[in-house]
């Protein structure tokens, strides 16, 4: 019997863990730190009526149409303008949509989930 040759040992490394993008982007910081603003506009303000029906997120349109706590003009998003932003340039798509009513009020939508379809425009 021949002796074993080319002896080696292997230590499996654990996968690297990150708590998430806030730490990735800003590092570890002490309590009370004011982080820099990072929003970027990615889709300019346009009239909602300029978009084909169903292009903008339906739940956004319905949230405005069905909200009895807001002014009647605000419940007609077809008369609003809308723009979209990214909360950080590294975001893969828009995650902030701001609807501007004709009365001057703003209605913000912050998209934090997965697997929804986000409209973007130029």
């Amino acid at each position: 019997m021949t002796a074993p040759s080319e002896l080696t040992t292997v230590r499996l490394k654990r996968p690297e863990y990150s708590p998430g993008p806030i730490v990735d982007r800003f590092g570890r910081f002490p309590k009370g730190t004011v982080l820099p603003e990072t929003q970027v506009e990615c889709c300019p303000k346009r009239r909602v009526s300029d978009f084909p029906p169903g292009f903008l997120k339906r739940n956004h349109i319905e949230a405005l149409e069905h909200n009895q706590k807001i002014a009647s003009c605000c419940r007609h998003p077809e008369n609003h303008k809308v723009k979209a932003k990214k909360s950080h340039p590294a975001e893969k798509c828009a995650d902030i949509y701001i609807f501007y009513c004709t009365c001057g009020r703003k209605h913000r939508f912050f998209c934090v989930g997965y697997e929804d379809v986000r409209p973007e425009w130029r």
């Binding site: 929003q39 950080h88 997965y114």
Partner: protein, 138 residues
């Protein structure tokens, strides 16, 4: 998605069976706060500085969390939350955090960064859109 960032102590709560991420018994809520989340040391709701304003309830809103399992993956879901200001007295906020309102001392799950301060004027709204799923455990 926005910046899903986990509070580090959350994973211990999950492993200790101290929180019900499947949503069978526990109620999860969303809050808006102005202080940047320190994921290493913030672990309960009292660690955050929530905004104040007419139409905003301290302790936030029920996100009606639920979950399903497919194979070895649990997917959690939530229902969108719309906050409507009924006076022009809202303080500026920037972050949204999710916590388990049923757990002892309201354990923090994760935070999102809006990327800048915002206020909500009288008659204006701020909606947290949770999409088709909130997160997954695999």
């Amino acid at each position: 998605m926005a910046t899903y960032t986990k509070y580090e102590a959350w994973i211990q709560q999950v492993c200790d069976n101290a929180v019900d991420t499947f949503g069978t018994t526990d109620t999860f809520k969303a809050v808006i706060h102005s202080d940047a989340p320190v994921v290493a040391t913030d672990d309960e709701l009292a660690d955050l500085t929530q905004i104040t304003g007419t139409g905003y309830t301290a302790g936030g809103e029920d996100i009606q969390n639920d979950a399903t399992r497919s194979g070895g993956t649990v997917t959690t879901t939530a229902v969108d939350v719309t906050l409507t200001a009924t006076a022009a007295d809202w303080g500026a906020g920037r972050y949204v955090s999710i916590y388990d309102d049923t757990s002892t001392t309201d354990k923090l799950q994760n935070a999102y960064d809006y990327g800048g301060n915002f206020t909500v004027g009288n008659g204006e709204t701020f909606t947290i859109d949770f999409g088709a799923s909130l997160n997954t455990y695999a």
